[in-house]
């Protein structure tokens, strides 16, 4: 059969990728352990590398979520950073509540910035955030609700392509401006920081870092498997069909608005989760996380890795951020030019990203 010989090359590539992925996850999983080795040991992994790769894992989850929306459903969101930041803020609110009376002002309930700004009591939307479960629910629900409302308005009116991208970009910009305001009750310019503990675990210890690192890694694997499952079902094929010929899908009797909304909301929730894992690792969340540049950078990760392939999104997040970390210390002024150049180069020469390059080799 001709079909089997045609399949042979890609399937070898797929096996290779799978082995590579499992290997990479195992390698990452070993980082906190190798961090325990004495610094003189050849296999010692520095604190810096552990913490920076913990961040990259969160970025990889964000890239996955963006790829689900863009690579599969064709929704090019230039505001996915907003969902990430909202998840981060929800986690940040929980962490602020856990500080309790240990703040500089020693107020039993109010976070420092509220005391400073003259708040008498906790705003109603801060209630409940002392509970971890409630905060985790909000980490998913707040980005999910925003995506539901925005997506419903846009998809129902059949706003697609560049117009949708501009709207999502405007959304994250508007949120950034809103969160900069002190009277929003989210710490304004400074955001939240000085976190003390999470789930009874002091945050400044190696054990906490390792726990958060593993939580992120497990989340990445779970999100990857979830996306893989979704895209492998008929639902995934409907999304691909919507991406390629949206109106044709309508004439087949599919409610395109509902299908796109489902993907967009799932994607936003995943981005929120990534933000929630990110914040305790970096120890701060401020309105800068909403800046449009962040969202665009996430698009570049996915484009570089290869949109429409889940491995590609993850690969892109790690490789571009690896490059960024190296370059911003080696030649800090160059980074933005390299980022822009990378996007142009990938668009022109590597439309399928790094994964496309591998596929080319595989054949």
């Amino acid at each position: 059969m001709s079909a089997t010989t045609l399949d042979a090359a890609p399937s070898r590539l797929r096996l290779g990728l799978r082995a590579g992925m499992i290997g990479a996850v195992c390698l990452l999983a070993a980082f906190p352990v190798l961090n325990q080795l004495p610094e003189t040991h050849a296999l010692h992994v520095s604190d810096f590398l552990v913490s920076v790769s913990g961040k990259w894992i969160c970025y990889a989850i964000l890239a996955l979520s963006l790829d689900l929306a863009w690579g599969y459903a064709g929704i090019l969101s230039l505001g996915h950073g907003a969902f990430f930041a909202l998840g981060g803020y929800a986690m940040g609110m929980h962490l602020m509540r856990l500080i309790g009376p240990r703040g500089v002002y020693g107020h039993p309930v109010l976070p420092d910035f509220m005391v400073f700004l003259g708040y008498r009591e906790l705003p109603w939307y801060w209630l409940g955030f002392d509970s971890f479960a409630f905060a985790m629910l909000m980490v998913l629900l707040v980005p999910g609700m925003l995506a539901l409302v925005l997506g419903w308005l846009c998809f129902r009116s059949r706003i697609t392509g560049v117009y949708l991208s501009i709207i999502t970009q405007a959304m994250t910009y508007a949120l950034m401006l809103a969160f900069f305001r002190n009277d929003m009750g989210f710490g304004g310019n400074n955001g939240f920081t000085d976190f003390k503990e999470l789930l009874g675990m002091p945050l400044n210890t190696g054990a906490a870092r390792a726990t958060l690192f593993y939580a992120s890694l497990v989340s990445l694997v779970v999100c990857y498997l979830l996306c893989r499952w979704m895209t492998a079902t008929k639902y995934g094929r409907v999304l691909t069909a919507i991406r390629d010929a949206e109106s044709r899908v309508r004439f087949l009797g599919y409610d395109v608005t509902r299908h796109k909304l489902f993907a967009f909301v799932a994607s936003a929730m995943m981005a929120g989760l990534a933000g929630a894992l990110y914040v305790p690792q970096v120890g701060i969340i401020n309105p800068g996380e909403f800046s449009p540049g962040n969202s665009i950078e996430a698009v570049v990760w996915v484009a570089v890795g290869g949109r429409g392939t889940l491995v590609g999104a993850v690969l892109g997040a790690f490789s571009v951020n690896g490059l960024k970390t190296w370059l911003t210390s080696a030649a800090p002024d160059l980074w933005l030019f390299v980022l822009g150049g990378l996007f142009v180069a990938v668009t022109l020469f590597l439309p399928k990203g790094l994964i496309g390059l591998l596929q080319g080799r595989g054949k």
Binding site: A3, T233, R237, T240, R243, S247, R248, R250, L252, G253
Partner: protein, 245 residues
């Protein structure tokens, strides 16, 4: 469910002052095949757009059985049992022939239903049957993007067969086809026509003659003449605006 008639009356569509359809009336009885011809700009495609919910009429009645087509969107009309084949074949390039047909198969259409979807043996048999009928069986695992123009047309017709619509709208099915491909297409349509109502928009009069059905001639957005192919070909008004050029 069987036996609904398509009923258009007084349908007008105005785009920025231009009347694409002007007081159009058309009735297609259950099981009937109807050819619609007319010069470019006569409103044939706009008529299809009104029936399938792509365009809302400015005035008039459009119904299928007792369903009011002017109040429904494309997906709802498709689920009502009206299928459409486009002038330019539109299939999903990234999906295989098999997957294209599977998407069209009658089944619950919601996101959750699609996530939980498992193709039944019956469904698989139906996909294979349609692949046989359209002559695409040996291309089952090929992405639709690499098919030839004729094969894309057949795949799209196959997708309509999977939808099993009660009324089928076909826009210029043989444009750009070789003679052999035209013949194969005519045979496919004839096979579908037995079980469904069909409206065919076509330029090729030989093809229309081969269909051997009632013909409606459109001109400037309304019906100019209706009857057998011989009747309309001899209608002096038709000769003037269309055939006698």
């Amino acid at each position: 469910m069987k036996g609904r008639r398509l009923y258009l009356d007084g349908v007008s569509v105005v785009f920025d002052g231009f009347r694409a359809l002007n007081n159009l009336a058309l009735v297609v009885e259950p099981g009937e095949m109807r050819a619609v011809i007319g010069p470019n700009g006569a409103g044939k495609t706009t008529m299809m757009d009104v029936i399938t919910g792509k365009t809302r009429p400015t005035a008039g009645v459009a119904s299928f059985g007792d369903a009011d087509l002017t109040r429904m969107d494309e997906a709802a009309i498709a689920n009502l049992g009206i299928g459409r084949k486009f002038q330019k074949p539109t299939v999903f390039d990234a999906l295989t022939v098999f997957e294209n047909l599977e998407l069209a198969l009658k089944a619950p259409r919601g996101p959750i239903a699609c996530l939980r979807w498992i193709l039944s043996g019956e469904g698989r048999a139906r996909v294979e049957e349609v692949m046989e009928e359209t002559g695409l069986a040996d291309r089952a695992q090929d992405p639709a993007g690499i098919l030839s123009h004729g094969q894309r047309q057949w795949l799209e017709i196959g997708m309509l067969m999977m939808q099993d619509p009660e009324l089928l709208l076909v826009d210029e099915p043989v444009a750009g086809m070789t003679d052999a491909e035209t013949e194969h297409t005519a045979a496919l349509l004839a096979r579908i026509a037995g079980k469904h109502s069909v409206v065919v928009v076509e330029h090729d009069l030989e093809f229309v003659r081969a269909l051997g059905c009632r013909v409606t001639v459109l001109h400037e957005g309304s019906v100019l003449s209706e009857g057998s192919i011989d009747h309309v070909q001899n209608d002096p008004r038709v000769v003037e605006v269309y055939l006698g050029r």
